[in-house]
């Protein structure tokens, strides 16, 4: 069971671990701000408030998509590492290698987009990378893909190290997931939820990364040997299998923050249950097989495959709502909660995940997808659970860590202003996207019809508020992380309740 101590000693970072963790988090918040600025520029262009030329718009779009997904996974990998290292031995070299490969991959992608002119989006759908009509060279497309490969290899090294650590302690991945307790047996109440969630994502996202590696290598071969033709439907299927699991991993690694931190702020135990283990066993399977909902308009796919996409998408909402949301609600209800930045962000993240997920479930219905596919409904729902869900989870951990440096949960006046600005701006931004989808406004378009600019303008206003709040969060977190941790923290952290009360 997760500790109720606010800042336990075995979470404290020192020396190299602290330096690398800070590098992850500071890089993440800096990249989030930069990628948000790209997004804001695109929305303001669609609103006709800025005049980004179409070629630059699609470069920005390619960078924004790849950059946001990559950064979300990097940030939530740091979340998983921060908590998992309490239960199993993780090697710092693996964590460092992942960071270095991420940076190298990011540099490749940035160079491919802004120097090579690559604008084939994060999806690199075959054969677009070699059909640029002169906008970019095949070498730029290849460099973009090499960047992906480097990032994927880094993440895989981190997962393999984590899997080795888990197997050493728990014997095998099935036991770490808690599978032996699904049908009976005495549940170990100290079996960490972090280990369950981490194991689930190690299994799912390793498969996703391998699928990505296969399709990336195939696409690279095609770039340099065009006579080796690929099957457009097969490559698309592999791309979405990889892409979906990769971004799902960001959500499910991020949710570890709720399991670990929520009970500390509510001062209530958040015990392991058989329902929880069933939920995660199901989630592991669902994350692996849910991706056909991206292919519902590819009628050439076998129809059983598309039906599976709809059915699994609907059922994958069950563990989220019944297990995690209800578990968190039970933990929150009649708790001794003092609202500070980490606790606010944790609850917001749960809301963003569920409300955004509901939009995703609707869109995964084939009949609905017929009129919503590739409209702004799609970025509407995924920005909902990424911006107000995953990013909020990562920010909660960052705020918690900077609180640990002063043995007090952060809650300054500026924090209390920044949070509602982020919340209101985020809601305006994502609901404008959803409304645009309802009005059939297409996604991924540099030029919008005059009839579509109303929601673009509203979304731009929301995005400005989000960027302002995120700029503040990024500075606050970076300064907080670089501050030397207070001495004598162990004694203060044992009185976690007192520390939270003092902040309240």
């Amino acid at each position: 069971m997760a500790s109720l101590t606010m800042y336990p000693d075995n979470e404290r970072l020192a020396g190299g671990e602290r330096a690398v963790f800070n590098l992850y988090l500071i890089s993440a918040v800096a990249l989030f701000v930069l990628m948000m600025l790209l997004g804001l520029t695109m929305r303001m262009t669609q609103a006709t408030w800025l005049g980004l030329p179409p070629d630059m718009f699609y470069k920005f779009l390619s960078m924004h998509g790849a950059g946001m997904v990559g950064t979300a996974v990097m940030a939530t990998t740091a979340v998983m590492w921060f908590f998992l290292r309490k239960y199993v031995r993780l090697h710092l070299w693996a964590f460092v290698t992942n960071y270095v490969l991420f940076l190298l991959g990011a540099l490749c992608i940035i160079y491919a987009v802004f120097v090579g002119g690559y604008a084939g989006l994060w999806t690199f759908l075959y054969p677009l990378p070699t059909h640029s009509a002169g906008l970019w060279t095949p070498n730029a497309a290849a460099l973009f893909m090499v960047g992906y490969l480097l990032i994927g290899v880094g993440e895989l090294i981190f997962y393999l190290d984590a899997a080795a650590g888990i197997i050493k302690v728990y014997g095998n991945l099935g036991r770490a997931l808690g599978l032996p307790w699904l049908f009976g047996g005495k549940l170990d109440p100290d079996h960490p939820k972090t280990v369950v969630a981490s194991t689930s994502m190690i299994i799912a996202n390793s498969l996703g990364i391998l699928a990505g590696a296969v399709v990336l290598v195939m696409s690279l071969i095609n770039i340099f040997y065009p006579q080796v033709a690929l099957d457009a439907l097969f490559t698309k299927t592999l791309i979405y299998w990889f892409g979906h699991m990769y971004i799902n991993a960001a959500i499910y690694m991020g949710v570890i923050a709720i399991y670990e931190l929520l009970p500390r702020y509510t001062h209530k135990p958040y015990p392991l249950s058989r329902v929880f283990l069933w939920g995660w066993a199901a989630t592991t399977l669902f994350v692996i097989i849910v991706f056909p909902h991206h292919l519902l308009m590819d009628y050439a796919e076998p129809h059983w495959f598309l039906i599976m996409g709809q059915i699994v998408s609907w059922t994958s909402g069950l563990p989220v709502v019944v297990v995690t949301a209800m578990g968190a609600f039970t933990n929150l209800y009649r708790a001794n909660m003092r609202w500070t930045m980490p606790s606010r962000l944790l609850v917001l993240s749960l809301f963003g995940w569920i409300a955004g997920g509901f939009g995703a479930v609707l869109d995964s219905t084939i009949q609905i997808n017929l009129v919503m596919h590739n409209t702004q409904w799609v970025p509407g729902h995924f920005h909902f659970y990424l911006l107000l869900g995953v990013l909020a989870m990562a920010l909660a951990v960052m705020y918690h860590v900077i609180g640990s440096h002063v043995n007090q949960p952060p809650n300054t006046g500026l924090d209390r202003v920044g949070f509602p600005v982020y919340l209101v701006g985020g809601l305006i931004f994502v609901v404008s996207f959803l409304d645009a989808g309802h009005l059939s406004v297409p996604r991924r378009m540099a030029e919008h019809l005059p009839a579509w600019t109303g929601t673009d303008k509203l979304a731009s206003v929301g995005a400005i508020l989000v960027v302002l709040a995120m700029l503040y969060f990024a500075l606050r977190i970076s300064v907080g992380l670089l501050r030397r941790p207070a001495s004598g923290g162990a004694a203060a952290s044992r009185g976690g309740v007192g520390a939270a009360d003092a902040a309240g």
Binding site: P54, D55, Y58, L125, P127, L128, A133, L135, D231, A232, L233, V275, M297, D298, Y299, A300, H303, L306, I307, Q310, W314, L318, V321, V322, M326, F329, T330, L332, R334, A335, M337, W339, V347, L350, F351, I354, A355, F358, G359, L362, T365, I366, Q367, I368, L370, V371, M372, H373, N374, T375, L434, D435, G437, H438, L439, S440, P442, M445, A446, E447
Partner: protein, 181 residues
């Protein structure tokens, strides 16, 4: 009723219910319960969890049956015998649609493919709403069936990003009243 309006309404109601649930819990989160009340609330929560699971499971089965018992996509590997057939080819960055005029109130079979990269074949009604769509993919022909219910000038718009000319990749499709209408 326009399907997009139904989806929008369902989402708004669902999001409002979710928000209300959060507001209720947030309001209660600062009112600590004593040990007895705490145990009772945990028990109540488990009962609610069971009911929630049951309700969602029923919604899942009812919803799946309602949306899938008549599969919304036509079979792809046998003749569809539609009264009208339209061949559609997408290429960077134009549409070739033959014929570009169809009749109202009779089923049209669109055979959609691409000469180069992936495109999205979406049909917009005169009121600006999408009525149906499929992907246009090189090496494959997707067969789409649709019955137009209102004459007018429809717009075919590419909905899958296909390069610099993606946004302007559009054309029109005329839907005329059937003889005798």
């Amino acid at each position: 009723m326009i399907l997009q309006n139904v989806v929008w309404t369902v989402w708004l109601i669902g999001a409002a219910l979710i928000a209300l649930g959060f507001i209720f819990v947030i309001v209660q989160a600062g009112k600590p319960a004593d040990a007895g009340a705490g145990e009772k609330s945990v028990h109540t929560s488990h009962v609610l969890q069971g009911w929630l699971f049951a309700v969602l499971l029923v919604a899942f089965f009812v919803g799946s049956w309602a949306t899938l018992h008549r599969f919304p996509l036509p079979p792809q590997h046998r003749p569809l015998d539609a009264a009208q057939v339209v061949e559609v080819v997408g290429r960077q960055w134009s549409w070739q649609i033959t014929p570009a005029t169809v009749q109202n109130n009779s089923v049209v079979e669109f055979r959609v493919t691409s000469d180069d990269v992936n495109h999205g074949f979406a049909i917009y009604a005169p009121d600006g709403r999408i009525v149906t769509q499929t992907q246009a993919m090189p090496g494959y022909t997707n067969k789409l069936l649709y019955r137009f219910e209102q004459p007018g000038t429809y717009t075919v718009q590419c909905l899958e990003y296909c390069g610099l000319g993606h946004a302007p990749m559009k054309t029109t499709l005329e839907v005329v009243a059937a003889k005798g209408e």
